[in-house]
Amino acid sequence: MEQHSGLTLSPTDSAALDALLEAGMDVARVPESTRAAAERVGKLLGLLEADDIVCDSALIDVTMQRLVRQGEPVLSGQDAEALDAWALSGYRVESTPHALRGRAARHEELASVVRDVDLEATPFLVEKTFQAIAQRAASDRAAGISMPSARGWRISDLVSVAAMLLIGASILWPTLSYMGQKGRQLSCAAGLGSVASAMGVYANNHRDSLPLATAGFGGAPWWDVSPDKPKANSSNLFTLARTGYARLRDLACSGNPKADRSEVKKGAFDWSNLESISYSYQIMAGPARPNWCRAAGEPASMVVLADRSPVVLRAINREVIDPLENSPNHGGTGQYVLLADGSVRWMASPERANGDNIWLPRAVEAIIQQAAKFHQTGRLEGFEIPLNEKDSFVGP
């Protein structure tokens, strides 16, 4: 016989147990000679019965955890129960059953350690996030994806409500502050900001290139606007509207009473006429074309877009030009410009701090300077191109 513990039943009790088992554990069926012993053995076995013990789900859970997660830590039964009670009570320790409250409090302390984070979101993060959403909305529109939530939005809404002039990586708080102090027309600045947003999205999709339809103007002046084909420099800016990155109303300045705010006509490559164009764009003729964001953060970043040039308007009409004349968009008080780093600035004079006149290419600036010595006049013919990619020179 296999010995398990070194203890064995007496022969009488052993015989009684056998008889009891044979009788199906029914003492009454056990032969009378061994019934007394069988009754005693039966009582002893009765001690092993546990009908009133119910295997609860927590035990099953813990057992399952042990089976499944061998080697992984497992909460003790009471901690598991306390966790459930704590969660069930809406994570209120005082609402947990008294017996579990101490352990529920431990859970709360552990959670507090995790929740205690000394971190706050910066305004920049919010603005950046908003900008990303604005760009996504613009991209979706450009790709013809209709976002139901954005049906009623305009890019200008996105930009003006969110981060009016926060474009790309550039922070424009100083600019906003300056404009606020001066009481300038924020709506116009926001409009230009929205153009910047669209331009940023375009650049993202075109290897940082600025919008371009043509770099050669077929022997005609770059101010010869023709809606049917990309002839004038303005057709480059028009690309934003033609390809869905912006709408014409986004490219319309409130300072231009003749600005075109209609929908883009099918097959159009440019505005219908010069007067309806609100902004002057960097002349994209020649090999020296600036890229978007190339000079981010640099004070001397390129001007790529400005309120419409008064110089070009006069040159077209063969009038004498004043290189220091301001845009008519704001009554001659100055002009908003968009830099290649995405920021928008107000310039009280078309001449930048580095001496670059945004209405003229360097060559003409030089001629004018030279001519001034001899009381002659400089001319602009519409064929001039920027000297290099650092020469801001805008026109329709």
Binding site: D61, M64, Q65, R66, R69, Q70, G71, E72, P73, V74, L75, S76, Q78, D79, A80, A82, L83, D84, A87, L88, G90, Y91, G102, R103, R106, H107, E109, L110, A111, S112, V113, V114, R115, D116, V117, D118, L119, E120, A121, L125, V126, K128, T129, F130, A132, I133, R136, A137, M147, P148, S149, A150, R151, G152, W153, D157, L158, V161, A162
Partner: protein, 202 residues
Amino acid sequence: MKEVTDEKLFDLFRRGDLGAFRKLMERYKDDLLRFLYRLVGDRTAAEDVFQETFLQIYQSSDTFDIERRFRPWLFTIAANKGRDYLRKKLRRQEVDLLAPVGKDSSDGSGAMFVDLLEVDVEKPDAQMDRSERDKLVQQALGGLSPTLKEILLLAYFQRLSYVQIAEELGIPLGTVKSRLHAAVAAFAKRWQAVSKGEAAGA
């Protein structure tokens, strides 16, 4: 004056009021960033996931049922984004995964029972330097799988009920329970180890 509910703001946003969206973002920016910081482990990544979360909110705006609560939806999306980030990071093997703490088994069965009463839990205002504690918490959380970390943080930060977690994560109630138990146990064990290590090293 009664504050406009999240759900009302979201409804306004869907009608084109971007200002309402901004209010929601302002309302949850700190909580969400802290949640994500704990989830992904560093601020830069948390900010990236923060942006992705709101972009996803924007993109999924039409799918949101305004009869439901906005907050759990927001944090569940954030948790999903954070989990995606962690998985990508794991695939790139940029994470130095902590070896499971305490491989030894107290009863030899392979399982380790955690008794919270034996775990030293300092209150946030206790003497341990806050930044040091923060580092240890991140270290302890870093050893958890993305799945465990996600459920732990949803419970700890969002106080979501088991039913809510089940609904938001789309998993059975029983799984929520067992997964959260496992997450708490794993975190407690790792916290015990890292904080003891800190004390020993002090």
